[in-house]
């Protein structure tokens, strides 16, 4: 009585800043072909898969900034990916910068849209959309830093919550990059019965604060730790997919992996480049956790969780109002 879905994690190597769109799309189609050749029904691409990770720079030129955003989805730039996926009968999940004119009016903070992921069915139809809630970094450019992390400057906070979708014979949710470190995000998906979480990321391989306190190894460990732990604690499968390698001089961690509801890694990337990992995910393997240790209805105690929704920042003891 297994409900098996064959999933491919399509890790990507770096996308250079200049003139790469067509090349990037060709690489994505090659990854899709590989995934399909291995029988995958669903291919998962990283966050901001069509472009470089542009929030690492202060970008003064409006035309350049807008060039990283997709005005519609699909659009002529990305249509070949949709066409090939439909021809192959493979669904996919992909992250991109979504242009949204309503996010423009922000004064000096230059929000141009959302950091978005979509789930596309085997027939090429968009089944679901998620806009990143946990934007890391800063709104303002930090002086004396080689690389910035300006997601809060260029993107508005996601306004769709953490939606779960019935798709591919199960219940599927999407998270983007930094979201995976936030157990609140996973829990909101699991509280909708989510069985498969798809996560694309671009994560710096260096200490983003300019120090040397965190190495690429430690940051890769953190990435895997949170995916494994949250897959376990929410009794779901997880597919975490990197854009990896040295992108325009800035290192990105790899560590793409497919994780089962026990938190075990069942497939793991070996490179920092374009690489396809395929795993058979039995969605019924979620039942053990969902009906036992993590039977939420039997064991959760929301009356004691109020701080999670009633306060934003930490309030140390003795400093309550």
């Amino acid at each position: 009585m297994a409900r098996i879905i064959r999933v491919a994690a399509c890790q990507m190597g770096p996308n250079p800043r200049i003139g790469s769109r067509a090349q990037t799309l060709a690489r994505m189609i090659a990854l899709l072909d590989k995934a399909a050749a291995q029988g995958a029904e669903l291919a998962v691409f990283p966050e901001l898969a069509f472009t470089t990770f542009f929030p690492r720079w202060p970008i003064a030129d409006e035309e350049e900034l807008l060039s990283y955003f997709e005005p519609a989805m699909p659009n002529p730039h990305v249509q070949p990916l949709f066409d090939r996926a439909k021809a192959l009968g493979v669904g996919f999940c992909v992250g991109y910068a979504e242009l949204d004119r309503s996010a423009f009016a922000d004064g000096e903070v230059r929000r141009r849209g959302y950091n978005t992921a979509i789930l596309v069915g085997k027939d090429g139809k968009i089944l679901g959309k998620y806009r990143k809630v946990h934007l890391p970094g800063s709104e303002q450019v930090k002086p004396h830093q080689r690389y910035q992390q300006l997601e809060k400057r260029y993107f508005a906070y996601g306004d769709l919550g953490f939606p779960a979708f019935r798709a591919f014979g199960g219940i599927v949710g999407m998270l983007i990059c930094n979201d995976r470190r936030w157990p609140e995000a996973w829990r909101c998906l699991a509280l909708q019965g989510t069985e498969l979480v798809l996560v694309g990321y671009n994560s710096a391989a260096y200490d983003p604060n300019g120090g040397d306190s965190e190495s690429a190894e430690l940051r890769t460990f953190h990435s895997m730790l949170v995916v494994q732990a949250n897959a376990y604690m929410n009794a779901c499968w997880a597919v975490a997919v990197a854009k990896a390698g040295v992108e325009d001089g800035a290192g990105l961690i790899g560590g793409s992996c497919i994780v089962d509801p026990n938190g075990l890694i069942v497939a793991q990337a070996k490179t920092l480049g374009d690489e396809v990992l395929v795993a058979e995910c039995d969605l019924d393997a979620c039942l053990q956790g969902k009906t036992k240790m993590f039977d939420f209805a039997a064991h959760r105690r929301p009356q004691h969780y109020r701080r999670i929704v009633e306060q934003v920042g930490a309030v140390p003891p003795g400093q309550e109002e």
Partner: protein
């Protein structure tokens, strides 16, 4: 200017049904003496450290189980732990079954039972009490199980929330933010987060966890049990930028196996010390509390990055609600 505290995880081997509290306390005193030799300032004992894990034994009438509970803390039997704390200038965490006569939510005073843990400071004063919120298992005898797990029968859900106290401990006179968890709580990110939202720097946690899945529902490879315990604590510490000390009662107790593998975890989620027996064993680590600051001021700067407006499901619903079929 590191803010260091030397912490001990005092794993206990099995305590059999026939063992007296006196025997358990003597074993704990030996671990405190060992801790004193190693400079320990705060020592952590497991959940239900004074008795066997009695929720594996069914009784029809709960009153017949009163002898497993503490009605006073300290008591004649546990007073030596408090004396040792003063003598060694060593704080301790102790888990025990608590029997009390208190008003319940409806205002009616009655006999109440909790799975409780306390933190005692080097003056022998109780500075924090926590009553377990996430009670696993079941309330009625389950004939399908080889071993019962009747925590939902023997205990009420804790009514103290997840408190954090700032208090001097060991040589840290300026105070440390300390929080407590018990056993199954460690698998619930909500519990970690409520502590994290109070700037907890060190979480002390005791457990009694069977090394095999005793529920006759589904199958779970035995080796995953320890992995899950470690994974939950490592992620809880990392995601809340705090230290964690997770301490087992281990070994074969009344014929049922409990795993050991007690650990001390840093705010990066790394295991810095681990027990390698199923017996009484002290593990220690020098915990630099300032290590919490990196996470807290960057990736896990809650004030800058949390979005509670999107977390409403966490308190608005208990169980999972699947999306409608369209």
């Amino acid at each position: 200017m590191a803010r260091r505290i030397t912490v001990g995880g005092a794993q206990l081997g099995a305590i059999q049904k026939a063992d007296s509290r006196k025997v358990a306390v003597e074993r704990m005193l030996a671990l405190m003496a060992e801790g004193q030799r190693r400079g320990v300032e705060l020592i952590v004992f497991p959940e239900l450290a004074l008795t066997t894990f009695f929720p594996r034994h069914y009784v029809e009438n709960l009153d017949e189980a009163d002898h497993w509970y503490e009605t006073a803390m300290p008591s004649n039997e546990t007073a030596p732990l408090f004396e040792a704390a003063r003598k060694y200038r060593m704080g301790f965490h102790l888990g025990y079954a608590e029997l009390t006569h208190e008003a319940d939510e409806t205002g009616v005073e009655r006999k109440r039972r909790f799975n409780t843990a306390i933190l005692v400071n080097p003056d022998g004063r109780i500075v924090l009490k926590y009553r377990k919120v996430h009670l696993p298992g079941h309330a009625e005898f389950d004939p399908a199980r080889k071993v019962q797990h009747l925590e939902k029968r023997y205990f009420e859900v804790g009514n103290l929330g997840f408190p954090v106290v700032r208090t001097p401990m060991g040589r840290r006179e300026e105070g440390i933010n300390l929080g407590i968890m018990i056993c199954n709580d460690r698998r619930w990110p909500e519990a970690w987060r409520v502590l994290g939202l109070q700037s907890v720097e060190l979480v002390t946690l005791g457990y009694n966890t069977p090394s095999i899945n005793q529920e006759a529902k589904g199958w779970e490879a035995h080796h995953l049990r320890v992995f899950h315990s470690h994974l939950s604590v490592q992620a809880g510490c990392y995601q809340n930028a705090c230290w964690g000390v997770a301490v087992a009662k281990a070994g074969v107790e009344d014929g049922a196996e409990l795993f050991g593998h007690s650990i001390i975890v840093n705010p990066q989620g790394e295991i810095v010390a681990m027990a390698d027996t199923w017996e009484d064993q002290l593990i220690t680590a020098d915990c630099d509390l300032d290590m919490c600051r990196l996470g807290r001021t960057t990736i896990f700067n809650f004030a800058a990055h949390r979005r509670p407006e999107h977390y409403t499901r966490i308190t608005a619903q208990v169980g999972a609600v699947e999306p409608p079929i369209v």
